[in-house]
Symmetry: C2
Subunit: 204 residues, 2 copies
DNA sequence: TTTGCCCTCTGAACCTTGTTCATTAAATTT
DNA sequence: AAATTTAATGAACAAGGTTCAGAGGGCAAA
């Protein structure tokens, strides 16, 4: 059955084409200002076709969202090879920051863009699983650090939350460009420099 | 000239009425899902009237945005009464967190909602001044801490950025409900507990 | 009191955008 | 060749943002 397979492949390709066009437009114009017609035009298909492949605009956002988490998750997973847990946490932060800066658009899609109403409800739990996974990787690593005698007097869960929040906060402010308004000496490297301060605090 | 004054007062009041209705709706339904018609109905005026008082939907967002920063700014300003700079930074964080949690809607309006396109441009510099002010208050306080011998080996600017980011990050994740998905023991107090961890790190 | 001006408020109408669905057209199967 | 299945189309609808010509009411001058 080669024909059915070819058709299947074509469908997958068109779906991917729609996603990549949507992503590009979301980045340039923002999600709100990207219309389905924009996307359709960009790939020379009709509006209706987009709806053949995605239930609605939400579903497109949704797909990109998952895609982003998978990418980040993969990058973080690589770090499990680092033996020393303390080195690993430090690296986790760096990788996270690099990802956020290199995929600013994707990052704000993942964390800053308010999730469209309906999708927070139903299967939300399922969708967010990649995020939970990342959180647990961090938590596990910090637990190992504590076992090894680091972070004396700290409590695991809130510590994990703090760690994630600090890194996320720096990335979010950087990406939203709020950082620029504040007149920093070198806005472009502020995240890295901020992170160094954090490591300094942690540093035994 | 009592008549002109009364008219002026009425205008100011109607403007405020529109704003309060808009805020209420933004909170309940989200900005995107609040329509000008919703706002008009809520205050028993016609759609057109809203446009008499505000150029467009953006302008409403804009006005609320400024309002939020003023409120937060005022609360933070009160803390300048605290003599000890180390106590003051700690308090700044607490007040900030309280504000964010008590005005979750407003807070996400201020920081998470992507600023509508056009307004990032032109007079943006002017608008963000309240934010800059808050940042500088924190920076000044931290500078005093350093003078008094705290934060040895740290650099002022990135330290300030880190501090703000950590607190902001925790608030943002909390408000966006991402925190809930992660299955924390007690999601409601996670921000406070995370902040305690941060203070522990800072604490000499 | 009457006249005319000035404001505020009105809501029908227009445009854009998300979404649907009956129809077309092409490919595959019989 | 005919029938069937499937993908793609785009006109049409609903809903929301925005505009604007005009209604209506108060106020001052006549």
């Amino acid at each position: 059955m080669g024909i059915a397979e070819r058709r299947e492949k074509e469908k997958i390709e068109l779906r991917a084409l729609i996603l990549s066009a949507a992503k590009k437009l979301f980045v340039i114009k923002g999600i709100e200002h990207t219309t389905i017609r924009n996307i359709a035009e960009a790939i020379d298909y009709s509006v209706g076709t987009v709806y053949v492949y995605f239930k609605d605009k939400n579903a497109i956002f949704h797909a990109l969202h998952s895609q982003g988490f998978n990418e980040l998750g993969q990058q973080l997973a690589l770090l499990m090879a680092v033996e020393n847990p303390m080195e690993r946490v430090k690296a986790l932060g760096r990788v996270y920051i690099n990802f956020a800066k290199a995929n600013a658009d994707m990052y704000s899609l993942m964390f800053s863009q308010p999730a469209p109403i309906d999708y927070l409800e139903e299967e939300h739990a399922d969708e967010w699983k990649e995020g939970v996974l990342a959180f647990n990787v961090l938590k596990g690593t910090l637990a190992q650090c504590i076992e090894q005698g680091y972070f004396k007097g700290h409590t695991l869960e809130p510590l994990t939350y703090l760690f994630w929040s600090a890194v996320h906060g720096m990335c979010a402010l950087y990406i939203s460009e709020r950082a620029k308004g504040v007149n920093l000496t070198d806005p472009d490297t502020i995240v890295e420099r901020g992170y160094e301060e954090f490591l300094k605090m942690i540093g035994e």
